[in-house]
Symmetry: C3
Subunit: 155 residues, 3 copies
Amino acid sequence: MAKLAQLIDSEVFLAFATYTTIVLLKMMLLSIITAYVRMTRKAFCNPEDTAKFGKGENAKKYLRTDEDVERVRRCHLNDLENIVPFIGIGLLYTLSGPAVSTALLHFRIFVVARILHTIVYLTAVPQPSRALTWAAGYAVTISMAYRLLTSVWYL
Amino acid sequence: MAKLAQLIDSEVFLAFATYTTIVLLKMMLLSIITAYVRMTRKAFCNPEDTAKFGKGENAKKYLRTDEDVERVRRCHLNDLENIVPFIGIGLLYTLSGPAVSTALLHFRIFVVARILHTIVYLTAVPQPSRALTWAAGYAVTISMAYRLLTSVWYL
Amino acid sequence: MAKLAQLIDSEVFLAFATYTTIVLLKMMLLSIITAYVRMTRKAFCNPEDTAKFGKGENAKKYLRTDEDVERVRRCHLNDLENIVPFIGIGLLYTLSGPAVSTALLHFRIFVVARILHTIVYLTAVPQPSRALTWAAGYAVTISMAYRLLTSVWYL
């Protein structure tokens, strides 16, 4: 911690590091869930993954698309599409010296929104739940981008 | 701005922050375009998204793949595949202290290339337009990676 | 190099920059491989990509899904899903001041695991090779996240 404290002596940076790590771990969890659902549904993409079920036609029938697996994969891709901009813009925003309370508000809303988005997506809660949790995270990133551009603008 | 100026007192960093934010906002716009095209084409993936069209078979017919939606999604994934390396390599390149004019040239070509790539992809301009805009962005990232590796190489 | 040395005077940072650049270049190579396999297999997604094969039905037959192309694309997406958390968590971990030897161990295992993962995936080596190389990279990221959270925790 000594070095980090010297390098970037700011509560905002510590908070950004904590929230980013949490939201990335949440995203990584979806890899495990995909593998788990593929095994319970017996739905695979790669012939080498079905070898344990025997050979020929017997194994081939497990090379299929399953709606539950696809749902987890869409959720994972949506995470990537939204968490990558959050990290890129959020890191630069953090370095632009925002007030601690404002920054914390942004990070907290984003992380809670993405966790809720995953739960709502995987359990297929009726709309507009998913749209709203997605929009909350999206709005946070736009708000950080606005703050950042007004302070660093250099084309 | 005070803190950022103290922390990283460099025009290259301000330029990197500005161009990265612009290209990430452009990528985020594709989420909105995907949602818009899904609604106008009435083509959805998740049963909960079609509930407003009624129940049973009536709603089920909107659970389909649409070529226009897939085009936007491919464009979005291509952005992820290219913008993630740009941000990772670009941030480290920025911190390695390049000349301002060289760095600006890299950032500008990349951002313009990716904006053109999106326009060319979504409006299906004949090849080799898309290949060229893609290659321009790719070449910028390779060039930054080369400069970075020659200055930081430590295995 | 002068500026980087002043800014972040640490071997861990130089090592992180080197390994991140290598693993991102490896990921970018998959774009080239996808294009190459699409051309040799004559399997495309976009009508404008098949225009060189003639018009109408003659060109349309090349708008198809090919198992070899899909394999490269899955490998590329798996890279994105795993390299994004590595870079995000790894950068913050690097700034948290870990011991050089520990950090190098993490970076080396991750990069070797991802290179092996790509080789094993593209050449369809029987399982559990792919699962093991994937798990090695995943475990490295979890380990860095644990170290990071215990040193920066700030909610």
